[in-house]
């Protein structure tokens, strides 16, 4: 079994995001970038499945600018066998990414495609689902547990009501939740070895995919500042304020 894992380069989750003054986006210059956190879970799970002898190869793929390759390199350092970097500059929407991944699936013929449930930068939560539709493959989203059984997967999903367990046929798409596992650290010797693992570079245009945005972004702005709280003297005052000022009761 072969597993393809899609990874995305995003602003590190610890960085305080700053909106550009002209409202066209957020500041990314000199900002620490990392792999999208649930994508780390996706890679970890694929490597675990391979280590358990249930998969033969793990291929990491990313779509993005030159530096996005760092995320593939990191995936290689924690156990992926080889990498693919589809080069695209500029804004990328989930539809374009899904179409590119579809082409990569046609080429690589994996049995499973893993990726994070959503990216922490645009929070779209669409790529996995769109890819599933394009390929006409079954999907299991928000996976917090994956059991590989012959030609089936038993997947536990994190849903609002609790946990849902489903069984789907392979080939399949799985999008991974943060609770799926604890990603391992890349060790220094493995980082060295990863530098020698192959990464295939492909231009998006060579895949024949139109990546031009379908959406028009109107404005990016900071969330409104929270107002300072006040202290009330007693319950009566609280009720009065909730009723007359906040108008919530």
């Amino acid at each position: 079994m072969k597993i393809l894992v899609a990874v995305k380069r995003v602003i590190d989750y610890n960085v305080q995001i700053r909106v550009k003054e002209d409202g066209t986006g957020v500041v990314t210059d000199n900002v620490k970038m990392s792999t999208n956190p649930p994508d780390d879970n996706a890679i970890e799970e694929a490597v675990k499945i391979k280590e358990a002898g249930k998969a033969t190869e793990v291929v990491a793929v990313t779509v993005g600018e030159e530096k996005a390759q760092e995320t593939v390199r990191k995936a290689l350092a924690v156990g992926a066998d080889r990498g693919i970097h589809v080069k695209v500059d500029g804004i990328l929407e989930p539809l374009a990414v899904s179409k590119i991944l579809q082409k990569i699936v046609d080429k690589e013929k994996p049995d499973l495609v893993f990726m994070g449930k959503q990216a922490i930068d645009d929070d779209c939560n669409q790529t996995g689902q769109m890819l599933s539709a394009l390929l006409n493959w079954p999907q299991a989203t928000f996976a917090s547990k994956i059991d590989v059984k012959d030609n089936k997967l038993e997947v536990t999903r994190e849903i609002d009501e609790g946990l849902e367990t489903i069984e789907i046929n392979v080939p399949a798409i799985v999008t991974c939740d943060l609770r799926l596992n604890e990603p391992r650290y890349a060790s220094l010797p493995n980082i060295m070895k990863a530098k020698k693992k192959p990464i295939e570079e492909i231009a998006a245009t060579d895949l024949g995919v139109d990546v031009s945005p379908r959406l028009e972004q109107i404005k990016v702005e900071e969330p409104p500042k929270r107002k300072a709280g006040i202290k009330v003297a007693n319950v009566a005052e609280l009720v009065q304020k909730l009723k007359n000022e906040a108008k919530v009761i």
């Binding site: 590190d12 610890n14 210059d29 000199n30 620490k32 990392s34 650290y185 220094l188 060295m192």
Partner: protein
Amino acid sequence: MSRESMEYDVVIIGGGPSGLSTAIKIKQLDPNLNVCLLEKASEIGAHILSGNVFETRALDELLPNWRELNSPIKTKVTKEKFLFLGKTKSLSWPTWLLPAVQQNHKNYIISLANLCRWLAEQAENLGVEIFPGFPASEILYNEDGSVKGVATQDMGIDKDGNKKDSFEPGIELLGKVTVFAEGCRGHLGKQLIEKFELNKGKDPQQYGIGFKEIWEIEDKNHEEGLVMHTAGWPLDNNTYGGSFMYHAENKQVFLGYVIGLDYKNPHLSPYDEFQRFKTHPAIKKIIEGGKRISYGARALIEGGFQSLPKMFMPGALLIGCDAGTLNMPKIKGSHTAMKSGIIAAETINEHLKENKDLSIYENKFKNSWLYKELYEARNVKPSFSWGLILGIIFTGIDQILFRGKLPFTLKHKHADHKTLKPANQMPKIDYPKYDNVITFDKTSSVYLTGTNHVDNQPVHLKLKDPDLPINYTLDKFDEPAQRYCPAGVYEVQKENDVNKFVINSQNCIHCKTCDIKEPSQNITWVTPEGNGGPRYGNM
């Protein structure tokens, strides 16, 4: 437990200006030497904080074609100001009356973090292997006592010291020469200074704490290329310190404050001095209407020539501010750190090729402009122990009339942890409330640093005696850690009328002030798990 090991010709600890300069210079001298560089931050530059007005002298020597290499050195200093601040008034000091070391017309306003990122690219292009996120946590020695290399931190240990599922053992990096370039008060450098008695016969090292904020200000207040320094208010005559304000590109100003850690009043809060400094009319009018976008703090070296330890030992070199090469009256340490790194590389090359002892570092250093610079600057800082006014008068005589050539050397008398007076003998200081426009609390400041440490890991601020803070330091010094820490790591909390000393180590921004100033030297800073600490952008 046995660890994996990797062998290199040169192992460098720390990706700041000195370590990166060493790496680049070694590869220039001999591309065949294997060089690796460890950095504890998640990427190069993420733990770098500096003013910074940059003198290019060392860079001109290291990479003479830096102007063609798309370097982040762009904003030339075009104008200078020096203000003495009173409580509401300010007096502008003519710049022609400043000593030559404080004149900056040939220098550039830069972000040192960005310079380091760029230097790292140059180093990687030359074949240096750079490993961010891997703190060196332990020094390894040969049987003959010489330094053999370092071990990186184990990853994936829980707070009780047990291995987690993600446990990844550290590895040993063995170098023919190991170069320690951790910056001010490096935790391994500290061990080396003690073990090899590198500071024997030297004055105690002197430190300061430096704060920096980056503000995006209104167009009308911004004057790209303007460098301004102040002395005076809010500090009293007996506390050493001052501010900087550098107008950088993109409508940003780099605003900062440095306070000598030899201050005496345990009630003093360096953080709050910086915050209230910004409310001075001369400062407020510039940043008003602007937005604070970054915050950070870091200890720095102030001891200079008299306190500079020996920089070589068997198997290793100690460079940059891990030793203490900052030039205090110049308020610059980047070019001197880089020069010490260049000398280290030349030393190592001769050591490996011609089998010369590492002690040749000493002579190379003594024959360099770095030595001359530090020698001539040596009397400025100690003269301020007589107070601001006498310090300025003496500095004028020493630097303008005699250009640092007076035939005597003033001494630094006390280590900084010994200078605090008992709390009941010193006045309490009533700091103004934060307005959340110009001044801010520590929590919202630390938030801007992007600091994070993986939770469930051992506390990396070790107490030699866990009861001392409450049993002794609280009573005698009103536990000054609550105030000298710029990140609110230390708190004294009352629980059922019992005082408790709390260490919020996840907030630590790796400034090392606690390791320096704690009056009983009860706190030891060690490396937390890799990738931890701040994520500074263009600091």
